[in-house]
């Protein structure tokens, strides 16, 4: 089974994020960047499937040249090869453009049986790329997977719903989006980290993918960004044994007890 996992490099979320004042794009250039933690679940699911079926995993990403670091992390976890689509024209690309670029890269790489993604990126969180990818690739989609297994008609997942979960199966080719917590992402081993340095990592441009300016033009725009009104500071107390009483008093005041 050939598996493609789509990943993204994002600014380290433990550092407060900032927007660039002129473009209202996320400040990325001089900020520590990491493989999106949500994507680690997708990488783990892809590696598990490959181990079960004897297949290869290709990681595909779109981003600036430094996104190599995130792909190296995926390679060190066990991914076999990686492709980075990088092009100045893609800066600030919206979700639909991202999906178009990823779909074109997957096609150029020779196609795949299974595409695995996270459910949304942790920085932009639009959350529609997996479904858009499926539509572009003419694939079935298994979204919001809490678990992923081979079997059934090809791949079978437990799909998160508002009230519980469904067991859903689909034949190949299929796009699977994996929720955070679906598995335990592995830590790269020392051997994995050393080995990742010699694994293939290619850079492709839009021209390499045969995409033109129109395919990646964005129809949406940020008009303004303003600071949200700050909430007035509430009452803050240290528990000296009386805090429980204060909470109960507050609940009584609000008439919920």
């Amino acid at each position: 089974m050939n598996i493609t996992v789509c990943v993204k490099q994002i600014p380290d979320q433990s550092i407060p994020s900032e927007l660039l004042p002129d473009s209202w794009r996320l400040r990325r250039a001089d900020v520590n960047a990491v493989l999106d933690p949500g994507d680690e679940y997708a990488v783990e699911a892809a590696l598990k499937l490959a181990e079960a079926t004897g297949g290869e995993v290709t990681a595909v990403s779109m981003g600036p040249a430094r996104a190599d670091e995130a792909l190296r992390k995926a390679l060190s976890m066990g991914v076999h090869k990686a492709i980075l689509v990088t092009d100045d024209a893609l800066e600030g690309a919206a979700a639909l453009v991202t999906a178009r670029v990823l779909a074109a890269a997957i096609r150029k790489s020779g196609g795949t049986d299974v595409v695995i993604t996270g459910t949304e990126s942790t920085d932009g969180y639009t959350g529609v790329v997996p479904q858009a990818l499926a539509e572009l690739l003419g694939s079935s989609s298994l979204t919001f997977a809490k678990s992923v297994e081979t079997g059934g008609e090809g791949i079978t997942i437990h799909r998160q719903t508002d009230t519980g979960y469904q067991i859903v199966t689909a034949p190949l080719p299929v796009v699977v989006s994996v929720t955070a917590g679906a598995n335990q992402p592995r830590y790269p081993s020392l051997k994995g980290i050393m080995g990742a340095k010699s694994k293939p990592l290619e850079h492709w441009s839009l021209a390499d993918l045969g995409l033109d300016g129109e395919a990646v033009a964005s129809s949406q725009r940020v008009f303004s960004v303003v600071a949200a009104p700050e909430k007035q500071a509430g009452e803050l107390i240290s528990d000296d044994g009386t805090a429980a009483g204060r909470i109960v008093e507050f609940l009584a005041q609000l008439k919920v007890i």
Binding site: L136, I167, L236, V256
Partner: protein, 324 residues
């Protein structure tokens, strides 16, 4: 300015209109006299009335043709055909699991941009402008579509109130779509039912995070929720750790709640969590770390250990209720 109607995806589950879809129909009516709803589900009998009284001027009913197939890809195809037929000014979809499936596939089919996590939508000089918050709701972003082509606004549930509307509504049936590229099949459906009110409706939500130390301590939250007729929620960290099911998750990837009181127990207040609860009317937070960001949102913050404070709260409420 595009003079077309606003097209709303009317999600229908178990024969009932999804609350977020009714909220969107009402908001669309505030912005336009022409509100077209696609009511899509396994059984749409009578839902036209619910959509009409929320603000729809036209309702297209479409029955899901195959029970064991996921709704999203089919509804996206039906929406795409309506986009072609009515040339809408904008498309509104609720950010549910199905809604996100619809938005992604519709974006490709109809070549539409998507603006997600929308919490407000307004008309500014004839242009629809969406608001969403970023960076833990400290910044508000105003965005919209530049070209004359419409776009998809993916709106968070509970962003708008449903207002009663009276007026004429045109109801018609839409043939189920046939050109669907999806073969996923549902084998089984399970619900993780909880007792008491649903998380999104409960007047009190008692939520737990890592600070509780262990999954078994959620019993304290369940007891406090029972005493306050509330419901129990959780942060993503403890859902990821497998302490409680995902259906209890409050936050960006979980549910949005707006209770009268939100009690955050051992939750630090990461942006992922706060976007789902900062609309609560009152917030109580208990955390050992006095620098935890949750205290910035709290009306009453207690720096202390949940495992010390909560048993006393429970005991005192019980004592009051026995007296009363």
């Amino acid at each position: 300015m595009n003079a077309g109607p606003i097209l709303v995806f009317g999600e229908v589950e178990d024969g009932r209109a999804a609350p977020v879809s009714l909220e969107l129909a009402s908001q669309a009516r505030r912005l336009s006299d022409a509100v077209v709803v696609l009511a899509y589900g396994s059984s749409t009998e009578g839902v036209d009335k619910a959509f009409a009284s929320a603000g729809a001027s036209a309702v297209h009913l479409a029955e899901h043709p195959v029970a064991d197939r996921l709704i999203g890809p089919f509804a996206a195809a039906a929406m795409a055909s309506l986009v072609g037929a009515v040339s809408p000014r904008a498309i509104l979809i609720g950010a549910t699991y199905t809604g996100r499936d619809v938005a992604g596939r519709l974006a490709v089919r109809a070549r539409l941009g998507v603006i997600a996590n929308v919490i407000d939508l307004m008309d500014k000089d004839g242009r629809l402008v969406a608001l969403n918050t970023i960076f833990g709701a400290t910044q508000i972003v105003e965005s919209g579509f530049t070209s004359s082509s419409p776009g998809i606004f993916l709106v968070r549930p509970k962003s708008f109130e449903v207002a009663a509307h009276e007026g004429d509504v045109a109801v018609s049936r839409l043939e189920p779509p046939t050109d669907v590229q999806d073969s996923a099949r549902i084998i089984e459906s399970h619900s993780e039912t909880s007792t008491g009110p649903g998380l999104e409706e409960a007047p009190v939500v008692v939520s737990g995070g890592r600070g509780l130390g262990d999954a078994s301590n959620f019993a304290l939250l369940t007891e406090l929720a029972r005493l306050t007729h509330g419901s129990v929620g959780a942060s993503r960290a403890v859902v990821d750790a497998g302490w409680v099911p995902y259906s209890m998750q409050v936050g960006q990837t979980g549910k949005t709640v707006k209770p009268t009181v939100y009690i955050a127990c051992g939750i630090s207040g990461a942006m992922q969590h706060t976007v789902g609860m900062k609309g609560a009317k009152n917030i109580i937070a208990i955390n050992r770390d006095q620098d935890a960001p949750i205290f910035k949102l709290a009306d009453l913050g207690v720096v202390g250990d949940c495992l010390t404070v909560l048993p006393k709260v429970i005991e005192e409420i019980k004592a009051r209720q026995q007296q009363g």
